[in-house]
């Protein structure tokens, strides 16, 4: 499947808590392929959650392997029904979102994280991550809970414009 259009902040659909994926079957795997294709279509994109392509299910894909801020990484990672089991100390860094074009924000995220979920074969996996990849995972899981980085900002001063208007 080609990349799907990104659902942006204009759509209330992003503010919804997503449902669990019942079965890791062909449909779930097709969703994963669409998320990967959509992520690959934008060179700067390191992750996509299902609701960002209009599917309100608990699934996301990330690939932080080629990002300059990455330390630990698991390459291309698809996770269904992710549950955070451990969060470390929080640090603030700037992040953006495909669904919020033009803006970035200073968001506090745990530096270390343990997440459980199911992979493409339906096996339960445990992911331990840190740094940029841990941030990306937390950002994607927020999407599954209907939250955008905008909803994590301490205030207007933490919001930044990506474009410079002249």
């Amino acid at each position: 499947m080609p990349a799907r259009p990104i659902v942006t902040v204009a759509h209330l659909k992003l503010g919804v808590r997503c449902a669990e994926v019942d079965q890791i079957d062909e449909r779930a795997r097709a969703l994963a392929v669409d998320m990967v294709d959509t992520m690959r279509a934008s060179p700067a994109c390191v992750g996509i959650a299902a609701p960002q392509i209009g599917v309100n299910l608990r699934a996301f894909v990330i690939d932080c392997s080629s990002h300059r801020r990455t330390t630990v990484n698991h390459g291309e990672l698809v996770l269904f029904n992710p549950v955070v089991t451990s969060l470390g100390a929080v640090a603030f860094e700037r992040e953006g979102c495909m669904s919020v074009p033009d803006l970035t924000g200073d968001v506090g995220r745990a530096l270390e994280i343990v997440v459980e979920g199911f992979d493409l074969s339906g096996s339960r996996i445990v992911i331990e991550s840190s740094g940029f990849e841990a941030r990306a995972i937390q950002h994607e899981i927020d999407h599954l809970d209907g939250l955008l980085f905008l909803d994590r900002l301490s205030g207007p001063g933490a919001l930044h414009q990506r474009k410079v208007y002249r």
């Binding site: 209330l12 905008l150 208007y165």
Partner: protein, 178 residues
Amino acid sequence: MSRYSLHAIGTDRPGIVAGVTGVLADSGCNLEDSRMAILHGQFAIMLVVEAPQRLSLEQLEASFREIQEELNLMVVIRPLPKQSNVKVSGDTVAVSVHGADRPGIVSSIATRVAELGGNIIDLATHKIEEQGGSSYVLLLTIETTPDCTEEILSPELDAVASQLGVSCVVHAGGDELF
């Protein structure tokens, strides 16, 4: 010493901060707090300055005439009380509102906040142009009162947001000291 608030606006260009603060330094003024912003190429700065007693408001205004011309700035100076007696309570909530752009988002939210007695102490809005429409993002910091807490604001602003067809999240400001 006397205190003034100084407001300068104009089209952004290099040298405005240097020009404004240069005049203040030459006049013997001491900068207290300041904040500047640029929106779509328009510059605005607000400074609170402490001025020597011998310097009158008229003299201070006159000292800005040259750079006002040179940098095409509008400068407004207002006297302030000697002591800053305006303090926020310290308890704040952050509010994020976002969705499809439409008229009245900011005014509807701000009106409800005002009705509840909350004071908006920081605000930023962004319109994001997209194909086939545009999105709107509003971020607020609100100083809370016993009648305008996070618990009260959250359902109230949710209701306003639902009517507008936008999403709204209210969360504690996180002003803890460590």
